[in-house]
């Protein structure tokens, strides 16, 4: 009796897995997508790198200056699902992504799949990068491959059951990968540029928006603040009813880290500002304008 039950349950699970495998294309990056891409522009790749905040997770904890370009990974992120460890994304061929093709890179960035086709955990904010221009991703690929290689091996995530069952993420992705922009209300041209920077690259919503039961950010509470994922306190809201600083003060804060009363940024935002300070002034102004136009 038990044997039969276990056998049929295993068969059902296996069948379900095969079905998922069949329904989800192995490589959603098509040849025509790849053919349309120009050779990577490393200067733009650097801009995407800083806007995307790659170093904040993939550089070593406390890294400053040039050390932020060594993307050895290892930083731990404790969540209710277990602990995630940022992987090595330096161009080391064994430990990092040095042997990834550009198509594999785009698939990871925009479809949340590893080189083996299996889903990646959304602690890596591919639901944001999904919205990015593929050419920006290609430029980023070129830029990352130009950075120093590091041989440190990536550490496996330490997750609790059932979150350690990676194929279950196919369902998560079916629910959350194709949601599009959080803000769909009409925006000025400048705020549209800001929306691209905030929603597709900088993934501000990952900390500034609260999450639902399955860990996806709640578009209905977009940038309205959230519990601090790495300790006590709250990550503040950014909507204009709450963040009442003038636009130019927001843009200046993103550059020098000082609030209008010249208090300084704290917590993880300090690291975010190190990234934002690498952008052009009109990028920071566009982000501020987007925040001012938030519903």
């Amino acid at each position: 009796m038990w044997k039969k039950l276990i056998l049929s349950a295993s068969l059902a699970a296996f069948g379900g897995f095969l079905l998922i495998w069949a329904v989800f294309p192995r490589s959603p990056i098509t040849a025509s997508t790849m053919a349309a891409l120009a050779d990577p522009n490393l200067e733009n790749g650097a801009r995407v790198f800083w806007a995307g905040g790659c170093a904040s997770c993939h550089a070593a904890n406390g890294a400053e200056g040039e050390a932020r370009l060594i993307l050895a990974g290892g930083r731990a992120f404790e969540t209710e699902f277990g602990t995630f460890y940022a992987p090595n994304i330096s161009p080391d061929a064994t430990a990092g992504i040095g042997d990834w093709t550009m198509a594999q890179f785009l698939r990871a960035m925009q479809h949340g799949r590893g080189p083996n086709g299996l889903p990646l955990y959304p602690a890596f904010p591919y639901t944001a990068y999904r919205l990015a221009d593929p050419q920006d991703m290609a430029d980023l690929y070129g830029y990352l491959q130009s950075l120093p290689a590091d041989p440190s091996l990536s550490r496996d995530h330490d997750l609790t059951f059932p979150f350690n069952i990676r194929p279950a993420l196919f369902f998560w992705q079916a629910l959350y990968l194709e949601r599009g922009y959080a803000v769909t209300a009409p925006l000025s041209d400048e705020a549209l540029r800001g929306r691209y920077l905030v929603e597709a690259l900088a993934h501000c919503g990952e900390c500034h928006t609260s999450r639902g039961a399955l860990g996806a950010v709640d578009h209905g509470a977009w940038l309205r603040g959230a519990p601090n994922p790495s300790g006590q306190g709250r990550i503040p809201p950014l909507t204009p009813d709450e963040l009442t600083w003038p636009k130019d003060e927001i843009a200046a804060y993103l550059n020098d880290g000082f609030t209008p009363s010249f208090d300084s940024a704290g917590g993880h935002m300090v690291d975010v500002i190190r990234n934002m300070a690498m952008l052009q002034p009109d990028d920071r102004a566009a982000i501020a304008q987007y925040l001012k136009e938030l519903p």
Binding site: Q232, D256, S261, F262, G266
Partner: protein, 155 residues
């Protein structure tokens, strides 16, 4: 009966113990207020320089020098009495000092010393024109951020 009596006695003792455990937190209010005052003086003076650096206020070499001198002077204050044990963020609701300060005291003091180095550099440059002041203000802001990144809780 005996049980409930002893239970009550224990409760009173426990309540008394808890109240006494709360006493040091109240005693630390002076230190919390003092260090917050120190940071407010820093913010006021950084604001003078920051306004010039951002271009919202015209650069004035004499004013910039005063602000930089003040920051350098504050950076030389010995922090020995500002951070007593038990004055972390649990001690007062307006206080965001993380317990990590007391777990990594050497690093915490190294970060204060880094502010001192940056403030001394700013003191040497603040009167030498807007660009020199801007360049020297960056490391000061960086030293604020480095410490707040590790040791101050977000809002």
């Amino acid at each position: 009966m005996t049980f409930s009596a002893s239970f009550t006695t224990k409760s009173i003792l426990l309540a008394a113990a808890l109240a006494m455990a709360g006493l040091p937190a109240i005693a630390n209010e002076g230190a919390i207020g003092a260090r917050q005052g120190q940071f407010k003086i820093m913010a006021l003076n950084i604001g003078v320089l920051g306004g010039m650096a951002r271009g919202t206020v015209e650069y004035d070499a004499a004013q910039a020098q005063i602000a930089a001198d003040n920051l350098a002077a504050i950076s030389q204050l010995n922090q020995a009495f500002n951070w007593p044990e038990g004055s972390d963020m649990m001690a007062a609701t307006t206080n965001r000092a993380l317990p990590a300060i007391w777990e990594n005291q050497d690093d915490f003091l190294a970060k204060w010393a880094a502010f001192g180095t940056a403030a001394t550099g700013l003191q040497a440059a603040a009167g030498n024109g807007l660009e020199a002041m801007q360049a020297a203000l960056g490391p000061v802001g960086g030293s604020c951020g480095a410490c707040h990144d590790a040791y101050r809780q977000p809002q």
